[in-house]
Each structure stands twice: as C-alpha cells, then as structure tokens.
Amino acid sequence: MSANEITNILVCGIGGQGVMTATEILAEAAIAEGHDVKKTEVAGMAQRGGVVTSHLRFGRKVLSPQIEPGTVQVLLGFEGAEALRWSHYLKPDGLALVNNAKLVPPVVELGLFDYPVDPTGQMRAAGHRVVSFDAMTIARDLGEIRLGNTVMLGAIADYLPFAPDVLLACIDKRFARKGEKVVEANRQAFAAGREAVAKQLAASPA
C-alpha cells in the first residue's frame, strides 16, 4: 500500500447484528497500526431492524468519511441480501466476505417483496469475488452463538493491510475484563473465521 492510499472497508447487516461493534474493533486495529481513521455510524431508525452499514476508512490522512461506490477493498456482509444490496460499492478486484445468514423482514413475509433466491450467487454472476460461510453455525459449534461477531472478524483478518495479530490483540483487549475463558473462546472463534475463509478460497478461488 502506498503512503497515501486509503483502505475502504464496508461492513453491512441489519440492526442488532453487531455491525457497529465489529467495525469499532476494526477501527481500533487500524489506529493501533498508526493510521488516521474515520468510521461512520448509522443510528436512529436503523436500530429497528433496518439496514445498517458502517463505513471504515483508514490511511495516512482520511478526509471524507463516506466511501464511494466502486471503491471498497473488502465488504464484510453479516447477511446475504444486505451484502448484495451494497455489492456495487466493491472495487472490480474487491473481495466480499459474506455470512450466509438469511434474515427475512416483515415486508417479505407479507408477500409484498421477494427475498433474492441466491444473493451471493447473484454477486458472483455480477463478477464480484465472494467468499460465503456460515458464521452462526461456526459460532454454535464453538458453543456460543454470540461468538459470531468474532468469527466475522476472523474472516476479514487475512485481507487487511496489517497482520491478523493486530486485530486479534484488539479483540483480546475488548474481552480481557471478562476473563481468560472468554478471551480464549474468542481466540478460537477468530481462528475458525480465518480458517473458514481460507478453506473456501483453497477449494474454489473466489
């Protein structure tokens, strides 16, 4: 990465999924690496099950906090249709890391709209590089559904312009107060997220 290059990471999902917290930890890691950082938060009505995105930009000096369409290096999607919704923000060679969760809103249940049949397939068909995995199943297999967020952070860890350990250290710090057991569980979730993406990429390069 050149001295002035800005890294754009877009994290998306729906209210209550932990999008903001995940982005906050990513921002802390970028700060630890000495970057200037800007991070947007969408609040207000979005917390009522609406669309949530968080824009994270870091580099030597960040001006506008908004990411432009077509400029995202990594899209971290907490939900399939939401990843599709924001996929036009990806750079042509950008990478989408998508949790396979399917959260269907009432307007779809009422039959007013359709949920896309295969959101990640649609993204691939549009030419995007996509790795999808099931963060919630991974978390459940580790014994705690709430580890899903850390699985997501593990998934992105190898696609940042700094070492995965920088991010892991920020996760450790966040859970340090909750004791060694919780820290260890999160370390496992982080490793599992990294492995899930690596395995997929090895099997079928995105």
């Binding site: 729906i14 209210g15 903001m20 906050e24 921002a27 802390e28 700060i31 200037d36 950082v37 800007k38 991070k39 947007t40 938060e41 969408v42 609040a43 207000g44 009505m45 979005a46 917390q47 009522r48 099950g49 609406g50 669309v51 960040v62 001006l63 506008s64 906090p65 908004q66 432009e68 369409p69 077509g70 249709a81 939401e82 599709l84 919704r85 996929s87 036009h88 042509p92 269907v104 809103p105 009432p106 307007v107 779809v108 249940e109 009422l110 039959g111 007013l112 709209f113 359709d114 949920y115 896309p116 959101p119 649609q122 549009a126 030419g127």
Partner: protein, 630 residues
Amino acid sequence: MAAVMSQSAPPAAASRLLLSGNEAVARAVWESGVRVAAAYPGTPATEIIESVARYPDLYAEWSVNEKVSMEVALGASMTGARAFCAMKHVGLNVASDCLMTMTITGAYGGLVIAVADDVGMSSSQNEQDSRFWARFAHIPMLEPADSQEAYEMTKFAFGLSEQYETPVLLRLTTRICHVKGLVTVGEREAHEPAGFVKNPQRWVMVPAHAKARLPGLFQRDETLRAVSETTPLNILEAGANRSVGFVTSGPAYMHVKEAFPDAPVLKLGLSFPWPPEKVRELAAMCDKLVVVEETEKLLETEIKAAGIACHGKDVLPSIGELSPQVLTPAVDRLLGKPVPPPAPAAAPPKVFPRPPTLCASCPHMGMYYTLSQIKNIIVTGDIGCYTLGAGHPWNALDTTICMGATMGVALGIDKGRGAVDKNKRILAVIGDSTFMHMGMQGLLDITYNHGNITVLLLDNNTTGMTGGQATPASGKDIHGKEAPKVDLFKIVEALGVPNERIQVVDPYELPKLFKAVREEIKIEGPSVIIARRPCVLIDEFKPFRPYLVEEDKCTGCGNCVEVGCPAIHVTHRDKVIKPSGKEVELAFVSIDSQACTGCGLCVQPCAPDAIQHVPRRDIPIHIVKATSSS
C-alpha cells in the same frame, strides 16, 4: 449508544481517542468548565448529552422539550455559569421562541447551543437548514467538519460567547454527529460563576428594554464580521490548480478536499457572519467560484448579494447529502470537462426494502393490530417509534407532522369535517415522552374546545426511538437514578378528560384493548386510553416464555402475520379455492423462538390454536436468565 468514556475517570489530557462528533462535543463541553447542560433526545444529537452526563462535576438533565432545555441553559448563563444545550434541527424550531429573545439579552456565562441537522433524513420528518437561524437571530455560527474540529470549535465557542456576550450556535450534521475520528483531548478548566447581577434593562425584555438593546444586535454582527475576516477558523487554502475555487463549510469541506485536492478553498469554520474580504480574495485568485453547501442556497445567495459572482445550486443539488461522487461530475461539467457516464457495475442491485420495524413483542403492535381491524376511522399520529404504525402490515396512521401535532390535527379534523366525514371516528396516537414534550397542550385544547377525539396514549415508559432515554414518567433521571415519577393518568384528568373516560389497558390483551377502543370511539367527547407496557429495549421489560408454531395445526390463515411481529416467518405459501369459488391465499408460518419473547399477541388471533409455548427444555438461555431474575 456508543460509550467510550467511563463514568468516573475521563481519559487524561493529550490522549488520542476515537470519538464521534457527538462525543467530541461532549468532551469539549466538560473541558470548558460547563456547569449546566440540558437536552431533549433527538437523532442525530441524542448522544451529546448522554455523553456529557457521564462526566463528573457538572449538572446534566433530560429536559421535557428543547425550549425548556434552552431556557435552563440561559438561566445558568445569567448566573455567569458556562451553559450548554443540544437539540436536533426540529428541536430548534421548538426552542426558537427563547432563541429569538435571548439573542437580545445576550449571554453572561458562555452559552453554546448545538443544533444537529439531519441532512439526508435518516430519522426525521423534514430536512431543514439551521444556518438560517444564525441570520434570523443574529447569532454567530460555527461549523465543524469532523470530530477533532467539533471538539476544538466547541471550546472556542465558549470563549467567543463570553467575549462578545452572545449565545453561539454550533451547527452539526449527521455526518459530524455519527462519524468517529481521532481527537486529541485536554483537561477540564475550572469556571466559577461570577454571580447573578440584577439588571432589568438586560434581563427583563419588555419593549422599552428590548428596544434599547436592538442596535447592539446589529453592532455585534459587524464586530463578528471583522472577527470572521481574521479568525484562524476561516482558512483560505491557496491551491495549485486555480481553474475553480470553493467556498464551503462543515462536512462538505472534506468532500471538496477529497474530490479537488489541488483547488483553492475557503473553509468557513465561523460561517456566520462570513468574511466578504476573504471571499473576494479567493474569487480573485481563481477562474470560477463554486459555493458548496448542504442543503439550501444560502451562502451562495449572500455572496452574490455582496456582488461576488459564483456558482452553487445551479450545478449542485439542494436536497440530501453531498459527497465526492456528487461533486466531481457536477463541477467537471461546469468546467466543460467530459463527464463519463456511470459504469453499469456501479448501479445498485435491486433488493427488497428493509424499512425499520417494530421489535418482537413491541407493545405498540397490539394497538396497531387493533386499529387495523377497525373500519371508518381517521387516526392522527406523532413522532416516535409508534410512527412505524403507518407502515405494513398495519397502515394504521393517517398523519404525522411534528411533535405533539397529533392532538391539534385531530381536533382540526373534528371541527373541519363536513358531511362526507361525519360518521368517521377520530383517534389521536401519541407516545408518553412526546405527550410530555408537546402533547399536553394539544390535549388541553381538545378538552377545552369540546373535541370529539379518542386519544391513544402509548405509554412504554421511555423515549423509545432515540434509544430508551428516561422521561418524567419513567421515575428515573438522566443518570438512571430515582426521580419523581409523574402520573400520566392524573395529568390527563387534570387537563379536563372526565375520570370515567380514561381507561388504562394492557396492549398485550387484545380483547380488552378492542373493547376499550370500541367503547371510547362511540362516546361523544374527549377520551383517553392509556396503553401501558414497557418498551422491550429497556430494563423494565421482562420477557416471557416464547412460542412456537405446531406445524400440523397451522391452517395458513395468516392472521398472525397481520400482527406484524418480526419473529413470525412464512415457511410456505399456498392457494385454495373455497366452496364459494373464491381463491384464498394461504401463508403457513413458523416463529423464531430465539427472537420471540412471549408477548402472546399472535396467539390471540390464531384460530386453530397452533401457537403454543416452547417446551421448557427449549427456552433460550437469555430468556431463562431474564425470567428467573425477575
């Protein structure tokens, strides 16, 4: 509610913290030695006072509305204390009565008003430009462009306020309030109030006193215009490429720098009064001048009136947020540069909308389901989570204007209706916090003027939409500590609603709710139904044993879907032809037992009793924990 600061020990000076604009303003308020800070919650400004309240050694309050918060701040300033209030753009409309006179009294202790414009309308009923208030009230305005500037300008504002004895407006927008950036912070400075000095010519605004002070307003404008020419907050950056130069302020500056890094820019931190000589200097150094402002054509109009040629809204939009993506093609077109059409890949994919919804077990669902089943009614609405009742599947609100408007609008419909609406029943919906903010006066108007209205007071014990802030009826103060709890029933009665026409119901009990609504709309005259249940997002809410759908019993009638709960999912659809020949759509459902908190609203309209409690062994652990602790 992002909280980075601990309650007892604020981070030390010179620390670099990742702060939102709201948190940065709060830090600066504390460091400036502010003694009194007040606000009513409103997106995107809510977190300012929430954050201020976590600091020691100052008084912070949730006020009942923005006007009161401003009056509290003014009163504190009269004693010589530094004082602060914060509000969203529409809040300043409410507070403007105070604003327009306190500009004449001026400030004694430093007095700063933060106003946050919801540019792009993420959570508001309108998009309005608070920069007009600075002109209207003759008050200086500061416009930060990011968190660091929000912090620095807030501190500057208190000094400016005291030096020129003026209130100062700090204009924020959503992109300042809710964007986090690194901020280098300092220490709190002590600020002991000089004391209240009796001075009726200054503080008693009768015509004779106010008249004598009016020339001071205009003098202050001119004095501050001179300050504006020299302050380091107004920076003229000479760029290398002088084909186009920009005048801008607030977050728009960041977009300009991102899109045109080599262009000359006049960045206005003190944006009113703005510096004409500096603008002339910029105009002289570039071929074309473009004013980049969100949202109205304000500065552009004033610059043109000063005889300086410029562009602005002839090339840029007046609605919504600006961004480099908006600026670049617009300015390139102005310069006669070729503008490539947007790449097809850049088009957003078509995905269903995901509007905000009521939460699973939200007590408002009971009321809206009820209203959706009653014909021949007109329902006026208000501002809050319960505005979502206007959406699917309930479609149960017919109007939403501004805080408290539900009452007056309902009375106006009642008095204005002709023969065509004669048989309709009129209901007014309002929340508990909104009722105390601005709804009480409207109800008084209804009772005083013999309105034939049924008011539905949805009491969820909190200010819901902004994230669960305390109210005078919640029995808690801004710190979560015990506070006097006002009795809404008694208020309603005192406002003139007959005791027998006030019913308190549980919105989870649909039959009782139906009965109460049907009863009250039939009776002539004002009535109030208080639907009381805590918001599911506050501590007072205790979840119940969740439900599931017994698949073999579900007949696909879809009644439960009409309740509108986000925990109910359609598993498959079907169609049947009834004996009458009519085709009926069926929707078979399941319940997400992880999301369900057992309110039972969907159980009541289920004809085949297909909705049953989950077996005890399957109750999610978070609900077991919550129910066992209650």
